[in-house]
Symmetry: C2
Subunit: 263 residues, 2 copies
């Protein structure tokens, strides 16, 4: 009886993207971690799209390429941004609405103010907009051959939980893993106040024309706070920040109310 | 006495960018509206960069081109995104920290969920990150020859006010103008809950390969609410939404606290 009931329910259906491109180790490890838990549709950029935030492509057409199709796993690449990948998957490629949207596992952390530039977090914010659960996973290592294996247990547990329980309405999760063999645990925290102190390296090309590369160092403006994503990661915890797409700063509506006027 | 005091204060210094590119009518109208009020530095994309959100360019180098330099106005174009324009201005082009950052006037509104994709709003969010005041201006018309003149009085008044009073810490403003000869007034409101119901048009190129264009219709999920940016614009008011870069959904931290665990 129990078995036939299970058989009558379709397997969960998970849409996966990233911003490092379909060939990156992180996204392929994520697929491997979840292959027995759900039917997976991967739609990922055809190359690196880091720091693309929630950019969408409006001045050039999008193209998709089917890379693989086998029971439980279909993979496409797309010439657009991570958010484009989610949109084209939802509107042109899926046979049913996904139960969950995942992005990652990103090569490099997406904590503090990095979330506003991150293509990984940008992609899952599309889950909020489309009103289904979404999780961004990032590991605090940019190494192309980074070891994602320590993340496996936590990833599977979180995915299973969200598939069963869902998430608060219009909220997605931004999950960051420190580089450790064993995590000290999981902490639900807030986005740290910090930013990159940036500069541009100026170079000259062979024709004598200047060009610029952005570089810089991250500075944590609240290093002593023990309720931030930076704190959690620096202390060996997996950090979980619930994120929203409503950018309104509600406290300021009252503060600015004397801007209201009638002509 | 008063006069010599005024003379000893430098004119305000305003950095201006947009996402429609330096040739767009909207940014050039904005420059015209403010030329007598401040020294202006324009650093704008060398072509359209709509829907670039807060994307930054990390895999190709940036280049800038000086277009014009005369007393009170210097203009550059840049091959990057709106956020790149702000960063390269701040770190490589300015002689002193700007008193204000402006983006626009955008051809097309940036209200409701559009803010998360908008390059115009993305650029001014950099003001929050860099901790100085910033305002995004958008007109609810995509016409290349849209009439921005009705915005002049409100733009000047807002800029003057923010130069004198500043803005709440880590808050920038998203201002939208309806298309009208006379506005009914100004309303400080919240970001409306709405989104684009999207679809992709599928076409074939001459070689027989499929390509896709994103299109869709905007749906307001709370058409009866009278405290949103959509409501303000639809009712003839200039809408002002205070925006923040902290994406944390604080209410959910408590709700998800049983995710916390120690190994």
């Amino acid at each position: 009886m129990e078995e036939s009931k299970q058989n009558s329910q379709p397997r969960p259906f998970i849409l996966i993207t990233n911003d490092d491109g379909y060939e990156a180790k992180g996204i392929n490890c994520l697929v491997d971690m979840l292959a027995d838990m759900a039917d997976l549709l991967v739609v990922a950029p055809d190359g690196p799209r880091s720091a693309q935030s929630k950019a969408i492509t409006v001045v050039t057409p999008l193209r998709v390429r089917k890379l693989e199709e086998r029971p439980g796993l279909t993979r496409y690449s797309c010439n657009g941004t991570p958010t484009d990948c989610v949109k084209i998957a939802l509107y042109s490629l899926v046979y049913r609405k996904p139960d969950l949207l995942l992005a990652g596992i990103n090569h490099g952390s997406n904590s503090s103010s990095n979330v506003i530039y991150s293509g990984t977090v940008g992609a899952v914010m599309e889950g909020c907009t489309e009103q289904f659960p979404a999780i961004a996973f990032s590991l605090d290592s940019h190494a192309p051959d980074a070891d994602f294996e320590p993340c496996r247990t936590v990833v599977r547990k979180m995915v299973d939980r969200v598939l069963r329980e869902g998430l608060p309405k219009r909220v997605c999760l931004n999950v960051n893993f420190p580089v450790r063999e064993h995590f000290r645990g999981v902490r639900v925290v807030r986005q740290c106040d910090g930013r990159w102190m940036e500069r541009f390296e100026k170079h000259q090309d062979p024709a004598g024309h200047d060009y610029y590369w952005l570089t810089g160092d991250f500075v944590n403006f609240e290093p002593d706070a023990d309720d931030t994503d930076e704190w959690a990661m620096r202390n060996g915890y997996v950090s979980v920040v619930p994120c929203q797409v409503d950018l309104t700063h509600y406290g300021s509506i009252q503060q600015l109310k004397d801007w209201n006027e009638d002509e």
